[in-house]
Subunit: 193 residues, 2 copies
DNA sequence: ATCATAACATACCGTTCGGTACAATATGAA
DNA sequence: TTCATATTGTACCGAACGGTATGTTATGAT
């Protein structure tokens, strides 16, 4: 009964996410978005609402898929120590490999928007809490299997590892020597015992 | 021989620093700056150069005084463990006390500008490296006094604590329960032994 | 084939952006 | 007191901002 949509909503949202991830909210203009998404301005507004709604949708997409990815990676090793070591190693390698490293979209948003917009304060907090739960479950698996000490405080340890993950992700934005990060994480991971 | 300046360069720079610290680079407009600094636009340009130069000057002022403050705090306790515990505790308390917490100006800049501007990549990296040296010296003092184990790798441990400091500072922007941060830091500080 | 309708492209809205030209003002050396 | 000069306030610059009105185009149910 009417003209059919010519773009794939998933694809243009993915493009918007990449752009916001690279440049942040303020530094990304509507012109940047139309260029990258390959659609016109009114199409953005009719499909996603205004700039901030689009940003929120993009961020939700990111956090959902990122959490699933992390969960999968941690479940991919029988050894919990090895699972965390590999995971951190891959996070580090990803930043040092790609020429342009964007870090974590959620962390970027925590810094840029959470302090001035409660919606993003909540959204970013809940993502971190969810990651902490994933970490905690992994640690508990290690306790159950006997790999980790029975007395381990799984929750506190998970929270410490989340803080380390955030810290290393941010620190890498200043491109320190890789040994700095490697040392820091190796030391932190000795908490798993 | 000419009209005398009517404002205190130090004071208006301090005001600019506070504003950039609160809002970041992009989100702070020249109008915001003139309002907060209490001087007119041409005075900013003739005294500090353009917006980015002013930002850099403000950030340098921040990092210098912040490093001196941290060094002093860590030297203020004979016990190294207690020095770090108190220091982290104060960082946490500062964020939960003030209604508007700005976190760390340097960390904010690492996230917003370092990935897109080499000048700030270098500036922020060197600040973190300097803080790591301060941490390392403190840890070495603890080794020397016998408070910490002789085998302690002071450098790696210092780097791990810097990563934790960054992580907690960023994490607090999402206003998690205080117990999350307290647990994480308590666990991380068990690395001091 | 007609036509109501939704997506399209274009062109524009008022506002705000970073930055500056310019004239008025105040100063101290002469 | 005069005058060269640096600082001030105002008013403006073109460009870019987020957002929208409007007319054109393509669609599928009738």
């Amino acid at each position: 009964m009417a003209r059919t949509r010519e773009f794939d909503e998933e694809k243009v949202l993915e493009a918007a996410m990449q752009l916001f991830w690279e440049k942040g909210y303020e530094a990304t203009s509507l012109s940047d978005l139309t260029a990258r998404m390959g659609i016109q301005r009114p199409s953005i507004y009719s499909t996603f609402g205004d700039k901030k709604e689009l940003f929120e949708t993009a961020l939700r997409r990111y956090t959902t898929s990122r959490a699933a990815e992390i969960r999968a990676r941690l479940q991919g090793h029988s050894s919990v120590k090895q699972a965390f070591a590999k995971f951190f190693e891959e996070v580090i390698a990803a930043e040092y490999t790609k020429d342009l490293s964007n870090g974590c979209f959620c962390i970027n948003t925590m810094v840029e928007l959470a302090p001035h917009d409660e919606r993003f304060e909540i959204l970013t907090r809940e993502h971190q809490l969810y990651l902490a739960v994933i970490f905690q479950e992994t640690i508990e698996r290690g306790i159950q299997s006997g790999e980790l000490e029975k007395e381990t405080d799984a929750k506190s340890l998970a929270q410490a590892l989340i803080v380390a993950l955030i810290g290393l992700t941010v620190m890498m934005k200043s491109q320190p020597q890789k040994s700095f990060i490697d040392n820091a994480i190796a030391t932190t991971l000795t908490l798993l015992k």
